[in-house]
Structures are given as structure tokens and as C-alpha cells.
Subunit: 264 residues, 3 copies
């Protein structure tokens, strides 16, 4: 039902990145407590603008001013869920795209119910690891915490079904990333294992996906570019790092300096 | 009504910085979720001590033990507002100075009402960008998110009025910073655009302003010194950085190593 | 009543560290808002896995899946206390060890009452500075904020009593660390003053203590190893740093690269 995964052409990625830099989209992040600083710094480094507004009565108002909204349920709370719902409704009303990062869905009941309840509210993209995709699609998952034990290729059929059922894009990330709209599939084989030794690289990617979803044009290409840019920055940073501390620093520097030519 | 802006003399800044290092003030920060770590690390690097106490019933008790209190409304919540109010009342009762950072005021209704409601509670200083100052002063603002689109010089008359009306000091920061009590005006023309690519440099400056406000002597000079020290550290760090990741690291190192002589 | 403090043998520390790396324990951290990112990055650097789940209805469920739980009351809130209680009960029911970091206990009423109320719920270890240990043990403390003014040796008798009364282990950290079960005492004399200029090194140590508490074998040795590994990484990092910014980066790199041989 879906085509074979193909590597996203470097020229396409370069043009999506250029567009992001021109537009500098404002991303309203309702994200988890652990990664807020790193998420904001990642958006700033790549050329977008972050803002976190968490009070329910402000979240809807701010969603309508933003270019994209991120919903990340990593440290979901009752009050946070209320703010997320307000932000989603505000975004939908204003025609602002929103992206879902369903952290640890499947492993915990409350967030699983919440994630399933907002799926029909039309996220334009979902960024998750294989376990989380399987859980969202209602298939058995091995999920424990945030590290994916399944392989992203194994979850690709479930991702395709999710994409078709909810008319959305799905990015499954892992050693190889797959980005699909349920028909076409782009793959990104890049990155470095050191990325998993720094908290929030996946969460920050979801924020970057949201930034790219605000751009006009081929959204699947834009989302694949988000994955590609982050993975490339990760590989370049890892090659010049002594460990996860220097890696995180180099990662932000590389994102900031990333040019279209680096994506070939 | 206000005098011409003048560059703060290096010797004055050096003496304020020396005093801060001797006293190592404890700053109680009620600040936004995104910048807590960076704010604490900035205070530690410069020689102050941070503490974040957020439960309303503890906030008042702790304000009275601190040397200064910071109120930053970047991720204002209902519960947070309650804690801030308790902290302000506790500080005022104990004679502890408090500083306001009215993040994104004007752009969002709830925080604008909150900020206006605490203005009469006598902050000793307000640190904000031009948009926020205009909004606080009741003038039309272009505010969208946290980046200022107005120029700080344009907002200087409004800052002067605010300072006089509320008997406070106002630091407007931007490419050039202006620090005024409504009569005198110090300017700080330093820093680097890379500072805007790291989240929380403005928020951390507000915490540093609070630390300096705890010192005896000429408070306007102390607040201008806070702006000067941060801007100088920013420029020195930028000159040795490959991007925002290495900049943030070098910024903390430079703050830590900053000597009076660096401020000449 | 307790034996003389002895330096933990390097071989014992090396074998505890090896065991941690083999098991890569999942640590459920209910910790303060300021240090979440640094705590997660520290656990990842040393070879453990962090997860923060804060909603009360999820906290108990997740505790039972984790290998250890950390309770840090640095930014205790009403809602946070509820989540902590749920996490503790979930952990106890599932036989998962939990560790207490009683930040600033003694200085503030609400958290002091909370800390005393959970002490009988059987933490397997307590990691604190001297002021906090004295406060927990019901002795006069000088506590203001998070910096300890008492010396860790002075608090050692109180730590021994706490350990015996609550059948737990106590790690008092300071210039020298002492780790005791109320009979044996290990000491760790290492580290660097620069560690106190980075927020969260103590809080992150408590998370690492929790990770080590999940290991089979001599738990006192494991907890002493946690202190030793962190202090050694601190000293190695400080020797190659220009200030607290580069220190924090080097610290994570050193933790990641730490080998048994480095602990001799």
C-alpha cells in the first residue's frame, strides 16, 4: 500500500531548510519539563523561534498567533492536558498546524487515553519512535519508558495505517527514520548513537518538525527535511565530540551553521 | 524630562561587581519553566546564589530569607501567579527588593492583567524589551512572543514614565540597553546578536538585575552594571564561539572570570 | 557506634560501576524543576536511563516499572507532593527502591513536614548536605537555601542515627562525602569547588545514587561508588575547564568515559 522507502534528495532538503530560515516560524511548544531549554535552543539554533505558554486560558490565544504548535506528552499532567486541549482547539480554529509527540504512549494508561483522544483532532504530523507508533496504532508494544526497543522498519506498516486513518504524516525515528503520508515514504539513514545519550533530541526533533510543518509546499518533504537536518547535525557533532556533554554543544553549533550543501 | 543617555563609567561598574561578589546575594527566582537551569547557572557563575521555591505556602516564607526576589511571568500559570503574589507580599513585608520581568506582556491577556495588578506592589526594578515596556506603559505594542520588534530607544520615554509613576527603575534591553530611574539614564552598547539565539539570556539578566538590586548604594548604577556585565560576557563569549551551543558555555565561563578591568 | 570512615577501595567502586553499566537501570525521577535536564543527562552519561513522570495517576504505575525512584523536594508543590506519595507507594508495593533528596529541609516548613512524613516510608538511601541531615535528624540546622554551611563530618553522628532509626543508608556530601549505614562508614575525598558553581550537581548525584541502589549486592558500596564516580568526574572535568560552563560539559563527557581504572 506504501511505496518503497527512498532517501530524500539533498536538493529538496536544502530548499526546505532555506524556506525555514526565510520564514523563521514561531513554534508554540507545550512540551515536557525535562527538555524545555534544549527544545527552545534547538529551535533558535536552526532559525525558528520558540515560545512556551502553559496556562490553559493563554494557550488557545497564543496558538492562534503561532505558526505551529507542538504537543509533547512526556510529562503530561491534568493541568497540562487542559492547556494542550485548549492549544489544539485554538490552533485548529485559526488554521495553525499542530504536531504530536506521544512520548511513552502505550506504557502508561493516562497518557495513552489522552493521546488517543486527541488523535482525531487532526495533528498534521506525528513524530515518535517505533514503540509509540505501534501503541498509537493499537498494536502490541514493548514500550517501557522513552527508548524504543522495536525497529522503525517494523513499525512502518502501522505508521502508514495511522497516516491514512488520520490523514496525517508520521515520522518514525530510530537508527533509520521513515517519514510517510501513508503512500510515499522517505527514509533518513544518518545520525549517531550519541544522540540517545543526550536527553531531548527526539523531543527537540518534534519541535523542529512542527516548525517545518508551518512552511508552504510539500509538507512530507519538509518533515523529512526536519529529520534529515537533525540527523546530519547529530553525525557531524558526534564526529567532533568527546562525549554527550560536548556533543550537545556541537549539535547546536552544527544546526546553526547548517547549509543546504551539508545535506547533499 | 530625562537626561541624555550616558555610558556607565567602567569604574562604577567594576565597584558594583566587586560588591556583588563580596555579598553573594541569594536570589529567590519565580521564573519560567524554560530557563530555570540557565538562570541558576548564570547566577552561580557571576557569584550569586539561586533558589527556586514555587509552592505558594513556601514562597512567602522563602522571600523573607532571600536577598532579592525575581518575578518572571514567561510561563505564568494560575498556581504560579498565586506563588508570585505570596512571594511579593512576603518580600515587601520583609523589606526584600523584588524585580519584575514581564515576559510577553501585551501579547496575552491573562499575563497582562497579572502584570498590571502587581505593578503597584512596588518592584524595585523592571527588566524588559521595548515591546513589553510599551505594553506595561499602556502604549500600543507590536508584541508577538518574546522577541522585541521595537527599538529600545523608541521605548525610552515610556520607560521614564513607568519609572516615575511607579517609583522604580526600568532597564530596557535590546541592541542598546537603557537603564533609567525616570531622570538619569545609563546606556549599555555591547553584547552580540548570538545572545538572541540562546534561550533565557534576557530572563537570566533579570535574575542578575535582582541580585544587584540587593546591594547597598546607588541602585541605578547597580542595575546598569548588571546589564553591562551580561552584555560584555556576551560579546567576549561570541568572539570565541562557533555557534549558540559553544556560546552558552563560553558565556558562563566569561561571567565567572569577569573582573572589574574587563568592564573598562 | 560507627566505625572510622575509610576510603572506599578503588576495586570495589570499579566493580559497582561495571554492574551499573551492564544493567542500565531505569530511574524514575520526581525531581525539581531547575535540574531536570541536567539530571537526565547525568544519568544518560553514566549509563543509566532517566524518566520523569509527574502526574499522580501515572506516577505509581511508572514506579512499578522502574528500577529505582528518586524523590527530590527542591521545588515541592502540593501537586508534586501528591505525585511523590503515589510514586513511593507504587515503588514500595512493587519492591522498587526509592531514594530521598531532602533539598533545603529545615529551612522551610512545608517541605520539612513533608520530608518527615515520608521518612517512615522506607527510602533505601538519603543523599543530602550536612544542614539537611541535621534537620532531618531533628537537630539545630543553619540551613538557608541549598548550600550547606555545616561540615559533613560534624553531621556524621546524626547521619548514623538516621540510618539506624530508619534502616536506611545516608550519604552526606560536602568537601568530603560520608556514606554510612549506621555502622560502617565510607568516605570520598575528591571533587572540586567548581561543582558548586553548577546547579544540580548534588541533585544529579541523588539520581545516580538511586540508579546504584537498584543493583544487587552491597548497597552501601554501591552508594559510595555513586559519590566516588561523580566526585572523580568533577575533579577530572575541573582540571580541564575555564569556568562553570565548560566544566558542566566536561563533567558529562568524563562520566561517559569513566572506566573502573579511573577510580583507583
Amino acid at each position: 500500500m506504501t511505496t518503497q522507502p527512498t532517501e530524500l534528495p539533498g536538493l529538496s532538503a536544502a530548499s526546505s531548510l532555506d524556506l525555514l530560515r526565510q520564514r523563521a516560524p514561531l513554534v508554540h511548544c507545550l512540551t515536557n519539563d525535562v527538555v524545555q531549554g534544549f527544545t527552545a535552543n534547538t529551535l533558535l539554533a536552526i532559525g525558528a523561534a520558540p515560545a512556551m505558554v502553559i496556562e490553559p486560558r493563554e494557550a488557545a490565544q497564543f496558538s492562534a498567533m503561532a505558526d505551529a504548535v507542538l504537543i509533547n506528552i512526556g510529562t503530561l499532567s491534568h493541568r497540562g492536558a487542559e492547556a494542550m486541549m485548549a492549544a489544539i482547539l485554538g490552533a485548529n480554529q485559526a488554521g495553525v498546524p499542530w504536531v504530536l509527540d506521544p512520548v511513552a504512549v502505550g506504557a502508561l494508561t493516562y497518557r495513552t487515553e489522552f493521546a488517543l483522544s486527541i488523535l482525531p483532532l487532526k495533528p498534521v504530523a506525528i513524530r515518535a519512535n517505533a514503540s509509540e507508533i505501534l501503541a498509537l496504532a493499537g498494536e502490541p508494544s514493548l514500550g517501557r519508558g522513552v527508548d524504543s526497543s522495536d525497529d522503525s522498519l517494523f513499525a512502518l506498516p502501522a505508521a502508514g495505517r495511522l497516516a491514512r486513518d488520520y490523514d496525517t504524516l508520521v515520522a518514525i525515528t530510530g537508527r533509520v527514520d521513515f517519514i510517510t503520508d501513508g503512500e510515499r515514504v522517505w527514509s533518513v539513514a544518518d545520525g549517531d548513537p550519541l544522540m540517545t545519550r543526550v536527553t531531548g533530541t527526539g523531543c527537540a526533533l518534534s519541535a523542529v518538525v512542527a516548525a517545518f510543518c508551518s512552511l508552504p509546499g510539500d509538507r512530507l518533504q519538509h518533515v523529512a527535511t526536519a529529520c534529515r537536518v537533525m540527523a546530519r547535525a547529530g553525525r557531524l557533532a558526534a564526529s567532533a565530540s568527546a562525549g554527550p556533554g560536548s556533543f550537545a554543544v556541537a549539535f547546536l553549533d552544527r544546526l546553526y551553521a547548517m547549509q543546504g550543501g551539508d545535506l547533499q
